[in-house]
């Protein structure tokens, strides 16, 4: 569990205690909340969702340190409110390092719509092939079957997959996405596309297993 930049240990402890009385559960809730904040800011067009998510967490922790109480039963709604304020403030900055994506014209995009030439495509394919081959066989089967890679049309077999694995759809979603995210990281490293972290879902909720 990583501390947000600028977050004090005391503030973090108060935050965890507010999220759940048990520390492990609180830690999971914190990771999930941070993932939600990252998504929120990314979809609002923030250039640095991590920075904005950290600022949101810091503000909530500071308020708790100052003795403010979060009255809402579920702290998530409170976080969303603070996140909206953070967003408004960044948009209001005259130097505006953030720019809503909706304001960007297609012509302003940094790259053309067809990013990979033949050579680049072949290189990435070789990386993909290698990274897929390095996966655990069960993970490999899961990710290929779940996303139906290689099929021109969707056949919608996910219910069968969930039944076979004895898991809920949400649990299978999370597992498949985790494998996909790790595969993406491997391909990026191999293809020299840097170490950018694909957005991911941090944990599987309890009660995902059936029976």
């Amino acid at each position: 569990m990583a501390l947000s930049a600028g977050l004090t240990q005391a503030g973090f402890e108060l935050l965890l205690a507010r999220l759940h009385p048990e520390r492990d559960q609180a830690g999971q809730k914190y990771e999930l909340l941070r993932a939600k904040l990252l998504k929120f800011f990314a979809y609002r067009g923030c250039a640095s969702p991590e920075q904005a998510a950290d600022e949101t967490v810091n503000r909530v922790a500071r308020r708790l340190e100052e003795g403010e109480a979060i009255r809402a039963e579920d702290a998530s709604a409170y976080f969303l409110g603070v996140a909206r304020n953070v967003l408004r403030e960044y948009w209001a900055r005259p130097e505006g390092s953030w720019r809503p994506l909706d304001d960007i014209a297609p012509g302003d995009l940094a790259a053309p719509a067809e990013p990979a030439d033949d050579e680049e495509g072949e290189r990435l394919w070789a990386c993909f092939d290698r990274c897929l081959g390095a996966l655990d066989p069960r993970q490999r089967e899961l990710v290929v079957e779940y996303y139906e890679w290689g099929r021109r049309q969707r056949i919608g077999s996910r219910k069968d997959l969930c039944r076979r694995l004895g898991l809920t759809l949400n649990a299978v979603r999370i597992r498949a996405h985790r494998v996909r995210a790790s595969l993406e990281r491997c391909v990026r490293r191999c293809g020299g596309m840097g170490e950018m972290e694909p957005a991911s879902v941090p944990h599987e909720g309890e009660g995902d297993h059936r029976g």
Partner: protein
């Protein structure tokens, strides 16, 4: 089955949200759900992955494609995700539900292991191997015979399929060599793509406009004689010029580009 024409994420609020096409009210509703419902993050992520895959495989409608590009291709991370999805789309389709994916090095590794085992176990293992090979050979002959008999019972393709438009081998766009076909607003178009002499395990076709826009893509196609038959929805081929790129793939390794075929659809 979801067909290409039905891939329209802008039809529901979550799809519009992901494409950046949602109203402010819709957007706030999706955000509120994101924070209130712990399972929704995974669903949203799943929809996003599907959207990236759909874009990479040319399954999005024109308007959705433009919205997607504006939202996802503005960042290096978004572009990397699309590049990844394009690579993933090149996987050959699974042959059977119980298929086990094998890495490229597996046949060679298996041969080495077999050689060591034969040396250790001696002639007995070799004899068993021979017997197994004989049995496999007999089983294969029986299967081929059965396939021939089943094929003989099937109606001929011409009886049920629309007539195929045969593409010119190595057609070029110069000197009036482009073959022309009549547009079909509905139904399907069957393109017959000449296959080169060297055979591959499977084939892939990518259909683009001369400007490079992806029109149609199909992979894992099995070779037929003398042409590869590719079925494309008539709506995907309005009047205009097209380039079909044929690639072949062996059991392992990347696809190899084999030929470009130019053709024109006229109204």
């Amino acid at each position: 089955m979801i067909t290409v024409d039905e891939r329209d994420p802008a039809r529901d609020p979550i799809g519009r949200f992901l494409l950046g096409a949602a109203s402010e009210e819709e957007r706030q509703q999706v955000e509120a759900r994101l924070f209130a419902d712990d399972e929704f993050l995974a669903e949203l992520q799943d929809r996003e992955d599907a959207l990236v895959d759909d874009y990479a495989q040319g399954r999005l409608a024109e308007g959705d494609r433009a919205a997607f590009e504006r939202r996802f291709l503005a960042s290096p991370q978004g572009r990397a995700r699309v590049a990844f999805a394009r690579a993933a789309a090149r996987l050959a389709p699974p042959a059977a539900p119980a298929r086990t994916w094998a890495p490229a090095w597996l046949p060679a590794a298996a041969a080495v292991v077999f050689a060591i085992a034969a040396g250790v176990l001696g002639l007995r293992a070799v004899r068993l191997g021979d017997e197994l090979a004989d049995e496999r050979s007999r089983a294969s002959a029986r299967e081929q015979d059965l396939t021939r008999r089943l094929d003989a019972l099937k109606p001929t393709p011409q009886a049920s399929s629309p007539p195929a438009f045969v593409l010119q081998a190595q057609g070029t766009r110069s000197a009036g060599e482009i073959r022309e076909m009549k547009a079909r607003g509905s139904g399907t178009v069957v393109l017959a793509v000449p296959l080169p002499a060297a055979r591959y395990t499977s084939y892939q076709v990518v259909l683009r406009t001369p400007e490079g826009a992806l029109v149609w893509e199909d992979a894992g196609l099995q070779p037929e004689d003398p042409n590869l038959r590719v079925t494309v929805p008539g709506t995907a081929l309005p009047p205009g010029d097209y380039i079909l790129t044929l690639s072949g793939r062996r059991r392992t390794g990347p696809a190899v580009e084999l030929a470009d075929h130019y053709f024109r659809v006229v109204g």
